[in-house]
């Protein structure tokens, strides 16, 4: 019996240590947003600031207008998610129901997701510069859509496969045309899959750095690029890094926690079925 108690104690200790190791650095970075400049660079470091400051947040919305990066990211991630979901679901439906392209097509689609962003961004940069569409919303959204489509198709394929074909057949017999079948049967039946896939697409896009670093520079700078802007040659503006990180993490964290129960399958790219 003693041994069982010891195992339980060890288990709780292990879990708590892991959670603390995960939580502390986040606490530490986020704390920067609420410290004064003196406290940020204080030696020894200040673990609990004397007073909570909100100046860093005010600065983001003030003269520097850095919070615009969050708006840019929101626009880019939202449009990317919607477009990729619509096109990807259509494609996945065709692949499942009509076996369009077969297995080779599916593998080709997925292999596109594996291309290193840094490799494809260089030619894209030159092409966009030539066409003078660098640093514009449509150009980066197209890139993100293309980059997320394979994942959306791969995921939605799995969800659509689970819809019994008999449902679609009855809808057809009842007089629905093809688009109505998609709209009235397939979409409602794969709702949880659509949520999960959309959340992942949104998070990928929101946090993506390489494409954003190269393809945006002034007008539509995104949130990760904005964060790297605070690393100056002489010093780092940790107040701003902290404040920006908090504002940038909240949307994705809320989305993930809110849709948590749908996400298990998505995180393993469909390998775990609920």
């Amino acid at each position: 019996m003693n041994r069982k108690v010891a195992i339980q104690v060890a288990r709780y200790l292990g879990v708590l240590v892991c959670v603390a190791i995960v939580a502390f650095p986040i606490y530490w970075l986020f704390l920067m947003a609420f410290k004064t400049a003196e406290e940020v660079y204080a030696v020894p470091p200040v673990y609990f600031p004397a007073e909570i400051q909100f100046g860093s947040f005010k600065a983001l919305f003030g003269a520097s207008d850095d919070a615009k990066a969050l708006v840019n990211s929101m626009i880019i991630a939202t449009f990317t998610t919607v477009i990729a979901m619509v096109l990807g679901t259509m494609c996945a439906y065709s692949m499942v129901r009509f076996k369009t392209g077969g297995n080779h097509f599916a593998i080709w689609i997925m292999s596109q997701r594996m291309l290193p962003p840094i490799a494809i961004v260089f030619p894209l940069f030159l092409a966009f510069a030539f066409m003078e569409i660098l640093d514009t919303f449509p150009s980066i959204i197209v890139v993100y859509v293309a980059f997320n489509l394979p994942f959306v198709i791969w995921m939605m394929r799995g969800y659509i496969e689970d819809i019994p074909i008999s449902l679609e057949e009855s809808a057809r017999i009842d007089g629905c045309n093809r688009w109505q079948v998609l709209h009235k049967v397939v979409l409602p039946m794969s709702r949880s899959g659509i949520f999960a896939t959309a959340v992942f697409t949104f998070v990928f896009t929101w946090n993506e750095f390489v494409f954003a670093l190269v393809l945006t520079n002034k007008d539509i700078v995104t949130y990760p690029v904005q964060v790297t802007g605070y690393f100056a040659a002489q010093q780092t503006y940790w107040n701003s890094v902290g404040a920006m990180s908090i504002l940038g993490t909240i949307p994705v964290f809320l989305a993930v926690v809110f849709f948590q129960r749908y996400l298990v399958r998505g995180i393993s790219m469909g390998a775990i079925k609920e």
């Binding site: 288990r11 292990g14 995960v22 986040i26 369009t100 593998i107």
Partner: protein, 303 residues
């Protein structure tokens, strides 16, 4: 009865599969965009890699495979591959083992489980750039808490310039990378382990199998397909590692932590060696594609 059921079936077939163009209309936009953004860069890289385009020269004529020969003898390129490989072969197993251990600890009743899980989700949704910044701050030589805590434990001021010291820069990068992604492994593996039929593990326990025997003989084989995918996702992310290294060291000190993606970025965007970058991009894409297609075929077969 029999004679009527067969025509119904045939009608369904014709209803669903009659309009041949419909299915191609469905895939057309997706394929078009993927081709536009995915295929163009590969072709472009291939074309410029056999031309002579550098910062000083804009020669679009056939230049042979000189850039590939240069790449073959470029020590910096081979070293960058080695750095990338080093990070991958250390981070991947550590993430996997930590994730597996933690997942095993979370199996069964645990007070506060939802809160713990919510905290453990955080690293996976935080932007890698922010994670890089976070660990740069944690390891700051002067005002970083790690320096402070270690000095306190050692009871004497320690003076390590973490991200500049050749002995310590890799541990810092690895800690940041592992910290961000072992919770991801944990989440996948916990979901997979929770799906393992407890009847089997209970039966094994009753038959006298020990904890480890049960784990290795029953749980591990049951979660293997999921684990394989998780390992593949992470391996592919790791060989593309850019964000965290970019923020923590930018490849420094010198080129000691320069990964291949970082080297491509520097040749392309700092040195403007268009042709040379093209040759590197094309070589890497070919190499990765072969590996990915082979791995995906395995998954597809097991699906």
């Amino acid at each position: 009865m029999n004679s009527t059921s067969i025509p119904v079936n045939q009608t369904n077939q014709s209803l669903l599969f009659s309009d041949r163009s419909f299915r191609y209309w469905l895939i057309a936009p997706a394929v078009l965009i993927i081709l536009l953004v995915g295929l163009f860069p590969i072709i472009y890289s291939l074309v410029v890699s056999v031309q002579n385009i550098t910062l000083f020269d804009q020669d679009y004529s056939w230049h042979g495979f000189i850039w590939y020969e240069d790449l073959w003898i470029d020590e910096r390129f081979w070293e960058s591959l080695w750095h990338t490989g080093l990070i991958t072969i250390i981070a991947l197993p550590v993430e996997l083992i930590l994730g597996l251990l933690l997942a095993r600890m979370f199996l069964g009743d645990l007070k506060g489980k939802p809160i713990f899980i919510a905290i453990l989700i955080l690293p996976a949704v935080i932007c890698p750039v922010v994670v890089g910044a976070m660990w740069r701050l944690m390891f700051d030589t002067r005002y970083g808490p790690i320096t402070h805590i270690l000095s306190w434990i050692a009871n004497s001021p320690i003076n390590i310039t973490w991200v500049v010291d050749p002995n310590w820069v890799y541990p810092v990068i690895l800690i940041a990378e592992i910290w961000q992604w072992f919770p991801f492994m944990f989440l996948i593996l916990l979901a997979a382990l929770s799906n393992v039929n407890t009847d089997l593990t209970d039966a094994a326990a009753i038959d006298g199998a020990g904890f480890w025997a049960t784990f290795f003989r029953i749980s591990l084989p049951a979660i293997w397909p999921v684990m394989f995918i998780a390992i593949m996702i992470r391996a592919l992310d790791l060989v593309r590692i850019f964000d965290i290294v970019f923020v923590i060291t930018k490849g420094g000190p010198g080129t000691l932590t320069e990964t291949t993606p970082l080297y491509m970025y520097i040749t392309g965007f700092h040195q403007f060696e268009t042709s040379y970058t093209g040759a590197m991009v094309f070589s890497i894409i070919v190499l990765l594609s072969i590996i990915v297609v082979l791995a995906l075929q395995r998954v597809e077969i097991s699906r």
